[in-house]
Symmetry: C2
Subunit: 262 residues, 2 copies
Protein backbone atom coordinates (compact mmCIF):
# COMPACT_ATOMS: atom_id res chain seq x y z
CA UNK A 1 0.00 0.00 0.00
CA UNK A 2 1.67 3.19 -1.21
CA UNK A 3 1.70 5.87 1.48
CA UNK A 4 2.75 8.97 -0.41
CA UNK A 5 -0.65 10.59 -1.04
CA UNK A 6 -0.98 12.10 2.41
CA UNK A 7 -1.53 15.81 3.01
CA UNK A 8 0.80 15.70 6.01
CA UNK A 9 3.55 15.68 3.36
CA UNK A 10 3.88 19.36 2.47
CA UNK A 11 3.95 18.96 -1.32
CA UNK A 12 0.77 16.90 -1.22
CA UNK A 13 -0.92 19.28 1.22
CA UNK A 14 -0.20 22.19 -1.09
CA UNK A 15 -1.39 20.29 -4.17
CA UNK A 16 -4.66 19.37 -2.49
CA UNK A 17 -5.27 22.93 -1.23
CA UNK A 18 -4.72 24.26 -4.74
CA UNK A 19 -6.61 21.35 -6.37
CA UNK A 20 -3.53 20.71 -8.51
CA UNK A 21 -4.53 17.60 -10.46
CA UNK A 22 -1.21 17.26 -12.29
CA UNK A 23 0.84 17.19 -9.10
CA UNK A 24 -1.35 14.51 -7.50
CA UNK A 25 -1.49 12.46 -10.70
CA UNK A 26 2.31 12.50 -10.91
CA UNK A 27 2.70 11.07 -7.41
CA UNK A 28 0.00 8.44 -7.98
CA UNK A 29 1.59 7.33 -11.26
CA UNK A 30 4.99 7.13 -9.60
CA UNK A 31 3.61 4.85 -6.89
CA UNK A 32 1.78 2.67 -9.39
CA UNK A 33 4.85 2.35 -11.61
CA UNK A 34 6.95 1.39 -8.58
CA UNK A 35 4.68 -1.60 -7.95
CA UNK A 36 2.13 -0.49 -5.34
CA UNK A 37 -0.96 -2.75 -5.20
CA UNK A 38 -3.09 -0.16 -3.36
CA UNK A 39 -2.68 3.59 -2.91
CA UNK A 40 -3.50 5.07 0.47
CA UNK A 41 -5.33 8.41 0.24
CA UNK A 42 -5.23 10.62 3.33
CA UNK A 43 -6.13 14.29 3.65
CA UNK A 44 -6.41 14.40 7.42
CA UNK A 45 -4.68 17.77 7.68
CA UNK A 46 -7.47 19.47 5.66
CA UNK A 47 -9.37 20.34 8.81
CA UNK A 48 -12.06 22.55 7.28
CA UNK A 49 -12.96 20.55 4.18
CA UNK A 50 -11.57 17.05 4.63
CA UNK A 51 -14.64 15.36 3.07
CA UNK A 52 -14.64 17.56 -0.04
CA UNK A 53 -10.86 17.17 -0.33
CA UNK A 54 -11.20 13.39 -0.09
CA UNK A 55 -13.80 13.29 -2.88
CA UNK A 56 -11.59 15.44 -5.08
CA UNK A 57 -8.50 13.37 -4.24
CA UNK A 58 -10.16 10.05 -5.01
CA UNK A 59 -11.53 11.36 -8.32
CA UNK A 60 -8.15 12.81 -9.23
CA UNK A 61 -6.13 9.71 -8.38
CA UNK A 62 -8.60 7.45 -10.20
CA UNK A 63 -8.19 9.46 -13.36
CA UNK A 64 -4.43 8.91 -13.16
CA UNK A 65 -3.99 5.26 -12.23
CA UNK A 66 -5.80 1.93 -12.26
CA UNK A 67 -4.69 0.51 -8.88
CA UNK A 68 -7.41 0.49 -6.20
CA UNK A 69 -7.43 2.94 -3.30
CA UNK A 70 -7.25 2.72 0.45
CA UNK A 71 -9.44 5.37 2.10
CA UNK A 72 -7.68 6.71 5.16
CA UNK A 73 -9.33 9.04 7.68
CA UNK A 74 -10.18 9.14 11.37
CA UNK A 75 -13.55 10.68 10.41
CA UNK A 76 -16.22 8.16 9.29
CA UNK A 77 -17.96 10.84 7.19
CA UNK A 78 -14.73 11.38 5.25
CA UNK A 79 -14.30 7.61 4.84
CA UNK A 80 -17.79 7.46 3.38
CA UNK A 81 -17.11 10.43 1.11
CA UNK A 82 -14.08 8.58 -0.26
CA UNK A 83 -15.82 5.21 -0.59
CA UNK A 84 -18.71 6.78 -2.48
CA UNK A 85 -16.23 7.61 -5.27
CA UNK A 86 -14.82 4.09 -5.50
CA UNK A 87 -17.37 2.31 -7.70
CA UNK A 88 -15.65 -0.05 -10.14
CA UNK A 89 -13.03 -1.52 -7.77
CA UNK A 90 -12.84 -2.94 -4.28
CA UNK A 91 -11.54 -0.24 -1.94
CA UNK A 92 -9.76 -0.73 1.37
CA UNK A 93 -10.82 1.09 4.55
CA UNK A 94 -7.99 2.43 6.72
CA UNK A 95 -8.91 1.65 9.46
CA UNK A 96 -11.25 -0.01 11.93
CA UNK A 97 -10.64 -0.86 15.60
CA UNK A 98 -12.43 -2.75 18.31
CA UNK A 99 -13.29 0.49 20.13
CA UNK A 100 -17.08 0.80 20.25
CA UNK A 101 -17.34 4.29 18.73
CA UNK A 102 -14.99 3.50 15.86
CA UNK A 103 -16.49 0.09 15.21
CA UNK A 104 -20.10 1.33 15.18
CA UNK A 105 -19.33 4.16 12.79
CA UNK A 106 -16.96 2.38 10.40
CA UNK A 107 -18.22 -1.20 10.21
CA UNK A 108 -21.46 -0.31 8.35
CA UNK A 109 -19.30 1.39 5.67
CA UNK A 110 -17.07 -1.68 5.29
CA UNK A 111 -20.22 -3.77 4.73
CA UNK A 112 -22.01 -1.35 2.45
CA UNK A 113 -19.03 -0.83 0.15
CA UNK A 114 -17.79 -4.45 0.34
CA UNK A 115 -14.37 -3.05 1.29
CA UNK A 116 -11.18 -4.71 2.38
CA UNK A 117 -10.28 -3.40 5.81
CA UNK A 118 -7.20 -2.74 7.92
CA UNK A 119 -8.13 -3.78 11.44
CA UNK A 120 -5.94 -2.37 14.22
CA UNK A 121 -5.39 -4.57 17.29
CA UNK A 122 -6.86 -1.83 19.45
CA UNK A 123 -9.80 -2.09 21.79
CA UNK A 124 -11.20 -0.05 24.69
CA UNK A 125 -8.12 -1.12 26.68
CA UNK A 126 -5.87 1.07 24.53
CA UNK A 127 -2.63 0.25 22.73
CA UNK A 128 -1.44 -3.37 22.94
CA UNK A 129 1.75 -3.81 24.94
CA UNK A 130 2.48 -7.53 24.53
CA UNK A 131 2.16 -10.42 22.12
CA UNK A 132 -0.90 -11.63 24.03
CA UNK A 133 -2.65 -8.24 23.82
CA UNK A 134 -2.22 -8.29 20.06
CA UNK A 135 -3.36 -11.87 19.61
CA UNK A 136 -6.48 -11.27 21.74
CA UNK A 137 -7.20 -7.98 19.94
CA UNK A 138 -6.89 -9.69 16.56
CA UNK A 139 -9.09 -12.57 17.67
CA UNK A 140 -11.88 -10.27 18.74
CA UNK A 141 -11.71 -8.20 15.53
CA UNK A 142 -11.58 -11.19 13.18
CA UNK A 143 -14.52 -12.80 14.97
CA UNK A 144 -16.67 -9.66 14.71
CA UNK A 145 -15.68 -8.96 11.09
CA UNK A 146 -16.44 -12.53 10.02
CA UNK A 147 -19.72 -12.56 11.99
CA UNK A 148 -20.61 -9.37 10.12
CA UNK A 149 -20.05 -11.04 6.76
CA UNK A 150 -16.56 -9.87 5.83
CA UNK A 151 -14.51 -12.58 4.10
CA UNK A 152 -11.19 -13.52 5.72
CA UNK A 153 -9.36 -12.66 2.51
CA UNK A 154 -10.56 -9.06 2.93
CA UNK A 155 -9.23 -8.71 6.50
CA UNK A 156 -5.81 -7.12 7.09
CA UNK A 157 -4.85 -7.21 10.76
CA UNK A 158 -2.33 -4.62 11.97
CA UNK A 159 -0.56 -5.75 15.17
CA UNK A 160 0.40 -2.10 15.87
CA UNK A 161 4.11 -1.56 15.96
CA UNK A 162 5.75 0.30 18.83
CA UNK A 163 9.32 1.62 18.77
CA UNK A 164 12.19 -0.61 19.89
CA UNK A 165 13.73 2.54 21.39
CA UNK A 166 11.20 2.46 24.24
CA UNK A 167 11.37 -1.31 24.79
CA UNK A 168 13.75 -3.58 22.89
CA UNK A 169 11.21 -6.42 22.95
CA UNK A 170 8.67 -4.44 20.91
CA UNK A 171 9.91 -5.82 17.59
CA UNK A 172 10.03 -9.43 18.73
CA UNK A 173 6.53 -9.11 20.29
CA UNK A 174 5.07 -8.05 16.94
CA UNK A 175 6.78 -10.90 15.07
CA UNK A 176 5.44 -13.46 17.56
CA UNK A 177 1.98 -11.91 17.36
CA UNK A 178 1.98 -12.18 13.55
CA UNK A 179 2.87 -15.89 13.67
CA UNK A 180 0.22 -16.60 16.28
CA UNK A 181 -2.50 -14.55 14.55
CA UNK A 182 -1.84 -16.33 11.25
CA UNK A 183 -1.93 -19.79 12.76
CA UNK A 184 -5.15 -18.98 14.67
CA UNK A 185 -6.96 -17.39 11.70
CA UNK A 186 -6.21 -19.15 8.43
CA UNK A 187 -6.53 -16.92 5.39
CA UNK A 188 -6.37 -13.60 7.24
CA UNK A 189 -3.73 -11.09 6.08
CA UNK A 190 -1.46 -9.05 8.30
CA UNK A 191 -0.28 -5.53 7.55
CA UNK A 192 1.69 -2.74 9.19
CA UNK A 193 3.20 0.67 8.69
CA UNK A 194 6.96 0.34 9.00
CA UNK A 195 8.16 3.64 10.38
CA UNK A 196 7.07 3.37 14.02
CA UNK A 197 9.54 0.58 14.74
CA UNK A 198 12.53 2.89 14.37
CA UNK A 199 11.18 6.00 16.13
CA UNK A 200 13.87 7.72 18.21
CA UNK A 201 16.83 5.88 16.63
CA UNK A 202 19.37 6.71 13.93
CA UNK A 203 19.38 5.01 10.51
CA UNK A 204 15.60 4.69 10.54
CA UNK A 205 15.32 3.57 6.91
CA UNK A 206 17.70 0.68 7.56
CA UNK A 207 15.71 -0.44 10.60
CA UNK A 208 12.39 -0.11 8.73
CA UNK A 209 13.74 -2.15 5.81
CA UNK A 210 15.22 -4.90 7.98
CA UNK A 211 12.06 -5.08 10.07
CA UNK A 212 10.00 -5.53 6.91
CA UNK A 213 12.09 -8.60 6.04
CA UNK A 214 11.68 -9.96 9.57
CA UNK A 215 7.91 -9.42 9.44
CA UNK A 216 7.71 -11.14 6.02
CA UNK A 217 9.61 -14.09 7.47
CA UNK A 218 6.98 -14.30 10.19
CA UNK A 219 4.23 -14.37 7.56
CA UNK A 220 3.19 -10.73 7.12
CA UNK A 221 2.10 -10.05 3.55
CA UNK A 222 1.13 -6.36 3.35
CA UNK A 223 2.94 -3.13 4.18
CA UNK A 224 2.10 0.55 4.13
CA UNK A 225 5.27 2.00 2.68
CA UNK A 226 6.95 4.30 0.20
CA UNK A 227 7.06 2.21 -2.98
CA UNK A 228 9.50 4.64 -4.57
CA UNK A 229 12.16 3.69 -1.99
CA UNK A 230 14.20 1.52 -4.34
CA UNK A 231 16.29 -0.23 -1.73
CA UNK A 232 13.18 -1.06 0.31
CA UNK A 233 11.37 -2.47 -2.73
CA UNK A 234 14.49 -4.34 -3.85
CA UNK A 235 14.69 -6.08 -0.49
CA UNK A 236 10.96 -6.81 -0.65
CA UNK A 237 11.31 -8.60 -3.99
CA UNK A 238 14.47 -10.44 -2.85
CA UNK A 239 12.71 -11.51 0.34
CA UNK A 240 9.71 -12.80 -1.61
CA UNK A 241 11.98 -14.85 -3.86
CA UNK A 242 13.81 -16.34 -0.87
CA UNK A 243 10.49 -17.26 0.76
CA UNK A 244 9.44 -19.19 -2.35
CA UNK A 245 6.80 -16.67 -3.42
CA UNK A 246 8.35 -15.73 -6.77
CA UNK A 247 7.99 -18.38 -9.42
CA UNK A 248 11.32 -19.04 -11.16
CA UNK A 249 12.55 -15.92 -9.29
CA UNK A 250 11.20 -13.87 -12.20
CA UNK A 251 10.20 -10.79 -10.18
CA UNK A 252 13.63 -10.81 -8.54
CA UNK A 253 15.35 -10.96 -11.91
CA UNK A 254 13.17 -8.09 -13.15
CA UNK A 255 14.02 -6.05 -10.05
CA UNK A 256 17.69 -6.63 -10.86
CA UNK A 257 17.19 -5.42 -14.42
CA UNK A 258 15.32 -2.37 -13.12
CA UNK A 259 18.38 -1.51 -11.01
CA UNK A 260 16.55 -1.82 -7.69
CA UNK A 261 19.69 -3.44 -6.30
CA UNK A 262 22.22 -0.73 -7.15
CA UNK B 1 32.85 -16.38 11.45
CA UNK B 2 35.00 -14.40 9.01
CA UNK B 3 35.54 -16.33 5.78
CA UNK B 4 38.29 -14.34 4.07
CA UNK B 5 41.35 -16.42 4.99
CA UNK B 6 40.82 -19.07 2.36
CA UNK B 7 43.43 -19.99 -0.23
CA UNK B 8 40.74 -20.37 -2.88
CA UNK B 9 40.83 -16.54 -2.91
CA UNK B 10 43.78 -15.78 -5.17
CA UNK B 11 45.42 -13.12 -2.99
CA UNK B 12 45.33 -15.44 0.02
CA UNK B 13 46.59 -18.41 -2.02
CA UNK B 14 49.54 -16.38 -3.22
CA UNK B 15 50.33 -15.07 0.28
CA UNK B 16 50.31 -18.59 1.71
CA UNK B 17 52.48 -20.00 -1.08
CA UNK B 18 55.00 -17.22 -0.48
CA UNK B 19 54.64 -17.39 3.33
CA UNK B 20 53.84 -13.67 3.30
CA UNK B 21 53.06 -12.96 6.96
CA UNK B 22 52.22 -9.30 6.44
CA UNK B 23 49.59 -9.99 3.81
CA UNK B 24 47.82 -12.61 5.95
CA UNK B 25 48.07 -10.45 9.09
CA UNK B 26 46.45 -7.54 7.24
CA UNK B 27 43.43 -9.64 6.23
CA UNK B 28 43.08 -11.12 9.71
CA UNK B 29 43.22 -7.69 11.37
CA UNK B 30 40.65 -6.35 8.92
CA UNK B 31 38.25 -9.17 9.79
CA UNK B 32 38.81 -8.73 13.52
CA UNK B 33 38.30 -4.96 13.31
CA UNK B 34 35.08 -5.49 11.37
CA UNK B 35 33.62 -7.48 14.26
CA UNK B 36 34.27 -11.17 13.46
CA UNK B 37 33.97 -13.45 16.51
CA UNK B 38 35.91 -16.32 14.88
CA UNK B 39 38.18 -16.43 11.83
CA UNK B 40 37.88 -19.38 9.49
CA UNK B 41 41.27 -20.64 8.24
CA UNK B 42 41.22 -22.75 5.08
CA UNK B 43 44.12 -23.72 2.83
CA UNK B 44 42.39 -26.53 0.97
CA UNK B 45 43.88 -25.54 -2.37
CA UNK B 46 47.44 -26.23 -1.10
CA UNK B 47 47.34 -29.78 -2.35
CA UNK B 48 50.95 -30.75 -1.71
CA UNK B 49 51.55 -29.22 1.72
CA UNK B 50 48.13 -28.44 3.19
CA UNK B 51 49.12 -29.54 6.73
CA UNK B 52 52.31 -27.47 6.80
CA UNK B 53 50.43 -24.51 5.31
CA UNK B 54 47.75 -24.83 7.96
CA UNK B 55 50.30 -24.78 10.77
CA UNK B 56 51.98 -21.73 9.31
CA UNK B 57 48.62 -20.01 8.73
CA UNK B 58 47.39 -20.59 12.26
CA UNK B 59 50.66 -19.34 13.75
CA UNK B 60 50.63 -16.31 11.49
CA UNK B 61 47.02 -15.36 12.17
CA UNK B 62 47.45 -15.85 15.93
CA UNK B 63 50.36 -13.42 15.94
CA UNK B 64 48.13 -10.80 14.30
CA UNK B 65 44.80 -11.03 16.14
CA UNK B 66 43.23 -12.22 19.37
CA UNK B 67 39.96 -13.71 18.05
CA UNK B 68 39.82 -17.52 18.07
CA UNK B 69 40.11 -19.60 14.91
CA UNK B 70 37.94 -22.05 13.03
CA UNK B 71 40.03 -24.83 11.48
CA UNK B 72 38.60 -25.70 8.10
CA UNK B 73 39.72 -28.67 6.04
CA UNK B 74 38.28 -31.83 4.50
CA UNK B 75 41.44 -33.67 5.65
CA UNK B 76 41.44 -34.78 9.31
CA UNK B 77 45.24 -34.67 9.43
CA UNK B 78 45.14 -31.01 8.41
CA UNK B 79 42.44 -30.31 11.00
CA UNK B 80 44.70 -31.84 13.64
CA UNK B 81 47.70 -29.86 12.40
CA UNK B 82 45.67 -26.66 12.85
CA UNK B 83 44.21 -27.62 16.21
CA UNK B 84 47.66 -28.46 17.57
CA UNK B 85 48.55 -24.78 17.16
CA UNK B 86 45.46 -23.49 19.00
CA UNK B 87 46.49 -23.79 22.65
CA UNK B 88 45.23 -20.80 24.64
CA UNK B 89 41.76 -20.48 23.14
CA UNK B 90 38.83 -22.70 22.23
CA UNK B 91 39.00 -23.44 18.50
CA UNK B 92 36.12 -24.42 16.24
CA UNK B 93 36.28 -27.40 13.88
CA UNK B 94 34.85 -26.90 10.41
CA UNK B 95 33.27 -29.40 10.02
CA UNK B 96 31.86 -32.75 11.08
CA UNK B 97 29.09 -34.81 9.46
CA UNK B 98 27.14 -37.94 10.31
CA UNK B 99 28.94 -39.90 7.57
CA UNK B 100 30.84 -42.75 9.23
CA UNK B 101 34.25 -41.99 7.74
CA UNK B 102 34.11 -38.30 8.56
CA UNK B 103 32.65 -38.85 12.01
CA UNK B 104 35.22 -41.46 13.00
CA UNK B 105 38.16 -39.35 11.88
CA UNK B 106 37.02 -35.94 13.13
CA UNK B 107 35.10 -36.62 16.33
CA UNK B 108 38.21 -37.72 18.32
CA UNK B 109 39.80 -34.35 17.44
CA UNK B 110 36.76 -32.40 18.60
CA UNK B 111 36.99 -34.25 21.93
CA UNK B 112 40.74 -34.05 22.35
CA UNK B 113 40.94 -30.31 21.65
CA UNK B 114 37.66 -29.45 23.41
CA UNK B 115 36.59 -27.64 20.23
CA UNK B 116 33.37 -26.02 19.19
CA UNK B 117 32.12 -27.77 16.07
CA UNK B 118 30.12 -26.99 12.97
CA UNK B 119 27.96 -30.04 12.33
CA UNK B 120 26.55 -30.41 8.83
CA UNK B 121 23.12 -32.06 8.48
CA UNK B 122 24.65 -34.68 6.24
CA UNK B 123 24.64 -38.44 6.72
CA UNK B 124 25.21 -41.48 4.53
CA UNK B 125 22.01 -40.60 2.67
CA UNK B 126 23.67 -37.53 1.11
CA UNK B 127 22.54 -33.91 0.96
CA UNK B 128 19.26 -33.10 2.75
CA UNK B 129 16.43 -32.15 0.41
CA UNK B 130 13.61 -31.22 2.80
CA UNK B 131 12.92 -29.72 6.20
CA UNK B 132 12.46 -33.21 7.61
CA UNK B 133 15.82 -34.46 6.27
CA UNK B 134 17.54 -31.55 8.02
CA UNK B 135 15.70 -31.97 11.31
CA UNK B 136 16.46 -35.71 11.38
CA UNK B 137 20.10 -35.10 10.42
CA UNK B 138 20.47 -32.50 13.17
CA UNK B 139 18.82 -34.78 15.71
CA UNK B 140 21.20 -37.62 14.99
CA UNK B 141 24.28 -35.36 15.13
CA UNK B 142 23.27 -33.57 18.33
CA UNK B 143 22.54 -36.88 20.02
CA UNK B 144 25.92 -38.34 19.08
CA UNK B 145 27.85 -35.18 19.96
CA UNK B 146 26.17 -34.89 23.36
CA UNK B 147 26.63 -38.62 24.03
CA UNK B 148 30.31 -38.08 23.25
CA UNK B 149 30.58 -35.32 25.84
CA UNK B 150 30.31 -32.16 23.71
CA UNK B 151 28.32 -29.41 25.44
CA UNK B 152 25.27 -28.09 23.56
CA UNK B 153 26.71 -24.58 23.66
CA UNK B 154 29.66 -25.82 21.59
CA UNK B 155 27.44 -27.33 18.86
CA UNK B 156 26.73 -25.29 15.70
CA UNK B 157 24.33 -27.10 13.39
CA UNK B 158 24.42 -26.17 9.70
CA UNK B 159 21.15 -27.06 7.91
CA UNK B 160 23.00 -26.94 4.55
CA UNK B 161 21.63 -24.34 2.24
CA UNK B 162 20.76 -25.16 -1.35
CA UNK B 163 20.12 -22.56 -4.05
CA UNK B 164 16.59 -21.20 -4.56
CA UNK B 165 17.41 -21.19 -8.28
CA UNK B 166 17.05 -24.99 -8.40
CA UNK B 167 13.97 -25.15 -6.16
CA UNK B 168 12.20 -22.05 -4.85
CA UNK B 169 11.26 -23.85 -1.64
CA UNK B 170 14.92 -24.34 -0.64
CA UNK B 171 15.04 -21.12 1.40
CA UNK B 172 11.78 -21.73 3.22
CA UNK B 173 12.81 -25.34 4.00
CA UNK B 174 15.98 -24.13 5.73
CA UNK B 175 14.09 -21.53 7.78
CA UNK B 176 11.57 -24.13 8.95
CA UNK B 177 14.38 -26.55 9.77
CA UNK B 178 16.15 -23.93 11.90
CA UNK B 179 12.99 -23.26 13.94
CA UNK B 180 12.36 -26.96 14.44
CA UNK B 181 15.98 -27.79 15.31
CA UNK B 182 16.09 -25.01 17.90
CA UNK B 183 12.84 -26.02 19.55
CA UNK B 184 13.91 -29.69 19.66
CA UNK B 185 17.44 -29.01 21.00
CA UNK B 186 17.51 -26.17 23.52
CA UNK B 187 20.85 -24.38 23.69
CA UNK B 188 22.22 -25.62 20.38
CA UNK B 189 23.40 -22.98 17.91
CA UNK B 190 22.71 -22.90 14.18
CA UNK B 191 25.11 -21.64 11.54
CA UNK B 192 25.36 -21.39 7.78
CA UNK B 193 27.38 -20.06 4.93
CA UNK B 194 25.29 -17.52 3.06
CA UNK B 195 26.42 -17.68 -0.52
CA UNK B 196 24.86 -20.98 -1.65
CA UNK B 197 21.32 -19.61 -1.36
CA UNK B 198 21.82 -17.24 -4.31
CA UNK B 199 23.78 -19.52 -6.65
CA UNK B 200 22.73 -19.05 -10.28
CA UNK B 201 20.84 -15.77 -9.73
CA UNK B 202 21.68 -12.09 -10.22
CA UNK B 203 22.20 -9.69 -7.30
CA UNK B 204 23.68 -12.43 -5.13
CA UNK B 205 24.87 -10.10 -2.37
CA UNK B 206 21.33 -8.76 -1.93
CA UNK B 207 19.89 -12.26 -1.70
CA UNK B 208 22.61 -13.39 0.74
CA UNK B 209 21.99 -10.34 2.95
CA UNK B 210 18.21 -10.68 2.97
CA UNK B 211 18.46 -14.41 3.64
CA UNK B 212 20.71 -13.72 6.63
CA UNK B 213 17.96 -11.51 8.11
CA UNK B 214 15.36 -14.21 7.45
CA UNK B 215 17.54 -16.87 9.08
CA UNK B 216 18.15 -14.61 12.12
CA UNK B 217 14.39 -14.15 12.43
CA UNK B 218 14.04 -17.92 12.52
CA UNK B 219 16.62 -18.10 15.33
CA UNK B 220 19.95 -18.68 13.58
CA UNK B 221 22.80 -17.01 15.50
CA UNK B 222 26.01 -17.68 13.55
CA UNK B 223 27.09 -17.05 9.97
CA UNK B 224 30.16 -17.73 7.87
CA UNK B 225 30.48 -14.45 6.01
CA UNK B 226 32.66 -11.60 4.83
CA UNK B 227 32.74 -9.27 7.86
CA UNK B 228 34.19 -6.47 5.76
CA UNK B 229 30.96 -6.28 3.72
CA UNK B 230 29.65 -3.12 5.38
CA UNK B 231 26.08 -3.37 4.19
CA UNK B 232 25.86 -6.99 5.30
CA UNK B 233 27.24 -6.19 8.76
CA UNK B 234 25.02 -3.10 9.03
CA UNK B 235 21.95 -5.22 8.40
CA UNK B 236 23.21 -7.79 10.89
CA UNK B 237 23.46 -5.19 13.66
CA UNK B 238 20.10 -3.63 12.72
CA UNK B 239 18.49 -7.06 12.73
CA UNK B 240 19.93 -7.88 16.15
CA UNK B 241 18.56 -4.61 17.56
CA UNK B 242 15.10 -5.30 16.11
CA UNK B 243 15.12 -8.80 17.60
CA UNK B 244 15.80 -7.37 21.06
CA UNK B 245 19.39 -8.63 21.22
CA UNK B 246 21.09 -5.24 21.51
CA UNK B 247 20.70 -3.60 24.89
CA UNK B 248 19.59 0.04 24.51
CA UNK B 249 20.30 -0.44 20.78
CA UNK B 250 23.93 0.51 21.54
CA UNK B 251 25.55 -1.69 18.90
CA UNK B 252 23.13 -0.33 16.32
CA UNK B 253 23.97 3.24 17.28
CA UNK B 254 27.69 2.44 17.06
CA UNK B 255 27.19 0.87 13.63
CA UNK B 256 25.50 4.10 12.57
CA UNK B 257 28.45 6.16 13.84
CA UNK B 258 30.84 3.83 12.02
CA UNK B 259 28.97 4.56 8.78
CA UNK B 260 27.89 0.97 8.21
CA UNK B 261 24.55 2.34 7.01
CA UNK B 262 25.81 4.68 4.29
Amino acid sequence: VGELINTSRSAVGEAVRERDELAIAAIARMEEAAGADYLDVNCGTMLTDEAASMEWLVDTVRKAVSVPLCIDSPDPDVVEAGLSKCEGFQPMVNSITDEKLRWDSVFPLVREYHAKVRGLCLGEGGMPSSTGDRVRGAGSLVEKLEAGGVEVDDIYIDPLIQPISTDTSNGRDVLSAVSEILSAHAGVHTICGLSNISYGLPARRVLNRVFMIQAMTSGMDAYILDPTDRRLMGDLFASNALLGRDRFCRRHTTAYREHLYD
